[in-house]
Symmetry: C2
Subunit: 109 residues, 2 copies
């Protein structure tokens, strides 16, 4: 049986995974890898409503993935733990293996 602190770790890992397991949120992280952005520009870039984006951002802040600073009217978000980008490499590696059996996926990577 699994030990108690292992379970706690799995829960924490799941929290982080959950916080990025959504297409818009992945798009946001991918956008922010090139530098900080305000809610407004993020919403326009990913093509979603502002209030929706605002919620996605707050989820990722709670998960410790993003942080923000205020600048006048704007709130500017950035990656708090850029190591999260390594996650995408891993996922993309898995997708590449799957792509051997799937042409459409192959073209997208």
């Amino acid at each position: 049986m699994i030990k108690q602190n292992k379970l706690f770790l799995y829960e924490k890992q799941a929290e982080i995974a959950k916080a990025i397991a959504q297409p818009y949120r992945i798009a946001i992280v991918d956008f922010l890898k090139d530098g900080e952005q305000c809610v407004c520009d993020i919403a326009e870039h990913i093509g979603a409503g502002r209030s929706n984006v605002s919620r996605h951002l707050s989820v990722m802040v709670s998960a410790g993935i993003l942080e923000y600073r205020k600048d006048g009217l704007k709130v500017i978000y950035s990656l708090k733990t850029p190591c999260i980008l390594g996650f995408f490499e891993c996922i993309t590696n898995c997708l590449k293996e799957q792509a051997k059996e799937n042409q459409k996926l192959f073209k997208a990577i």
Copy 2:
């Protein structure tokens, strides 16, 4: 605005992330990293009901993370893309950064 095939990629990445974004499923992958296991032993190891485990397994098979073979009565699951393990390193790195501000988390890692 984001291009169409980028969006498709984000969706695929989200699918994989979603497939592991659950404590039991992380426990399962962590268990399988040491070798293939049947549903029965997985259920006992993680301390969950068999039918529940069976569902978690089929989700991960659909996502392309796991594969299985049949051996008599038993169905034996294993990692299809062991590169998924890299994912945990990334997540754990992020947690380590967070752990600087959180003692309980620090002890679990």
